[in-house]
Every structure is written in C-alpha cells, then in structure tokens.
Amino acid sequence: MKTVSPHGSENWLTTKMTSLVDWGVNWGRANSLWPMPFGTACCAIEFMATAASRFDLARFGMERMSFSPRQADVLICAGRLPFKLAPVIRRIYDQMPQPKWVISMGACASSGGIFDNYAMVQGIDTVVPVDVYVPGCPPRPEGLLYGIGLLQKKIKGETFRDAAIREEHPLDRRGLSMAPERIDELSEPFGNSVHQTRSA
C-alpha cells in the first residue's frame, strides 16, 4: 500500500511503520462501520432489507445501527431530503465524531431525483459532504452493499498522516457548506426535468 507523505522524503523505516499503522487502523475502521440510518423514503425500505437476514449487513461489521449520531461512523441518507429536513441532517452530521463518512443512497438523495420542485434539496451534497453515491430508484440491496464496499475501499486508502481528511468543515457565516454558485450549478435541472418549465 502506498502512503501519501506530506513531508517529502522519509527514511525507509518510518514509511514502513506508517503503512503498518495505517493498515491496522484502516482495517479496523473499514470493518466496523456503524451506520446512522437517515431513512426518509422508499430507499429506507431497501436499506432495511439490506440489514435483514437475506443480505445481512452484519457480514461487513455494520450490524449495529447507531440511532445516535454520537456513536456513528457513516451517515446513510436513504431517501429524498426536503428543505425542511436540511437543517436536521446537517445537525446530525455535525454531531457525528470524526472519522465520519456519508453515503447518499438513491437517486433522490444524490440529485433530487424525480422531485425537481420547490420543496426538495437537489442532492444532499449541497448540505453535507458525500463520500459514496449509490444510484437507483431505489437501489437494490446489492447496490447498497457495493456502495459500502466502495466506501471500505476508500477507507483502506486513507492515511492517518493526512490530517486534512479529518478536518471539520462547519457551515460558513452565510450558513452554507459551499459557494452559492456551486449549489446553483449542482442543482441545475438535467435529463427529463429540463422540459419541466411549466409555471402557470
């Protein structure tokens, strides 16, 4: 495994030790993810199916659903996010301790899906940072498991030397998580909803 060294050249022993510690820490983290389920719609049903015996999320160390954000590692937003819930998911995300990751499950959470209207957040990435997007409407349990697999792969590539990935990014003084122009760009209509311009 390659490690990113922010300090340029290191001696051979330090590099070896770092990769060994990284390997151990990442192995532990990736295989004991505790999800915080944020289920708002039909994706939550598929999420429950993923956790149930047939697909059995417990195989990946995620047996314990953490219904308190303070003991959770990964926030799984399963379903559409209305604007009214945006401050709620943001507060849950802020309450989760580092290290933390976010999975956006399904079309609505990832992009607003079919709900390109006045009430719906067009992708939860405008509210919280997202690590893995799982497409589908709703995704099958295999899809979510694949997404979790991708997240584990991502975790196994992290290094504790890189402090930047553990930095907290609270909302700025406007109360936003990114520049307004970026939000407008991310929220632009695409696909069929570009034809949806009727107003009266």
Binding site: F83, K84, P87, Y118, V127, G175, D184
Partner: protein, 209 residues
C-alpha cells in the same frame, strides 16, 4: 341528488348559489359570508347529522378569472351520507373565510394546510401558521397557479434559508402535548415556548442567527 340540498335551499334560500351532482357526489355552492352558519346547521340539525368533517381543501382553476374554491368534505357517520360544500372566493377580493374550528376541532390542521398551500386566511382560527412548509418560508403559496414549480428563489438561496431555519421552532405547546408537564421542562425551553419563538432568517452578509 342528496335530499340535504332541498332542505338547505328551503332553510337558507339564496345563500345556496348552486347545486349539482357529479360522479355520484352532490356538490353545493354556498355564500362565503354564511358558510359557517350553514356548516353548523348541517352538523347540528337532526336529519342532517353531518358530524364528520373529512377534509378541507381548496381548488384554484387554470382559468385565472374563476374564483378559488374552498371545499368542505362532510360525512354523516350515522346516516353514511357524504356531502361536498364549496365556497367561492373571488381573487380580486380578500382571500378569507371564517374558520370552522369552533364547529369541528379537526378543522385546525386542515385549515392550516389550506393557508400554507393557497394563502387563504381563516378568520378566528386559533393558531393559523404554516404546517407543511417551515414557518419562515418566504416564497409564497406553493399550490397557487402563479407559483413556479421550482420555487421563486434560486437553489442556493433556498438551501441557505433552509439551513438557517431552526428545526426545533415549529411546534406549539399543544402540538407537543406537553402543556401539562411544562413545569418539568428546562427553564430555557419553557421560556422559548412561552415566547413562541420561531426561526429567524439572518441577512446574507450578517452572521448566523
């Protein structure tokens, strides 16, 4: 045709402006100023007994000239008979009717929903606030025909307002059903509920509220 229509015409005369049958449902249009009187009569008169208010909703027609209709779906639980009562509110005038909460307590949230979505005011309503959209929602009334599908503000402005809303400020004491244990709540929460504090949107350049 539901026999209640004939009884209404006999009792209220000109206040019943129109009545017809559509898809097996009887629809009665009544005068807005006397709507509450008529609804109360329909509920309390023996032989009518429309004791269940199933729904209150509103209709705005595509034809901009036509008035907004407030629809009361009544049902008699004893006689198993439905009746639809409509009130017309011309758009040029103030969009307001008297509240039906004194007759049916269940009208409370139904009228709040009509207020939230159509901007119709219910005079005498005990707690007329938005119910589906958050209370600081400033874009207008989403189910009106002149409301754009994606809202009036830009997406970034919508996200900003949503993230600045206080998610805990949406409930009245009655909704929380904690009025009788209010003395056990922390002083800070009790104080906030007593003041009826709601979310505040700070200005874009200022700090967070």
């Amino acid at each position: 045709m539901n026999p209640s229509v004939a009884a209404l015409r006999e009792r209220f005369g000109g206040a019943v402006t129109r009545s017809f049958e559509s898809c097996g449902d009887t629809i009665v249009h009544v005068d807005a100023t006397r709507a509450i009187e008529i609804l109360r009569w329909l509920k309390d008169t023996p032989g009518q007994d429309y004791n269940y208010l199933a729904d209150i909703t509103a209709v705005e027609h595509r034809d901009g000239e036509r008035p907004i209709e407030i629809v009361y779906e009544l049902f008699s639980l004893t006689r198993k008979v439905p009746l639809r009562v409509k009130v017309e509110l011309p758009k040029a005038e103030e969009l307001a009717v008297d509240s039906a909460v004194p007759i049916w307590a269940g009208a409370n949230w139904l009228e709040r929903e009509v207020f939230d979505m159509f901007g119709v005011t219910f005079r005498g309503h005990p707690d007329l606030r938005r119910i589906l959209m958050w209370e600081t929602y400033a874009e207008g009334y989403p189910l009106r025909k002149d409301f754009p599908l994606r809202g009036r503000f830009s997406r970034s402005e919508q996200v900003r307002q949503a993230l600045n809303a206080n998610p805990e400020a949406h409930y009245s004491m009655e909704e929380l059903a904690i009025a009788n244990v209010a003395h056990e709540l922390p002083a800070e929460i009790r104080d906030r509920l007593a003041r009826g504090q709601r979310g505040v949107i700070p200005d874009p350049e200022g700090g967070r509220g």
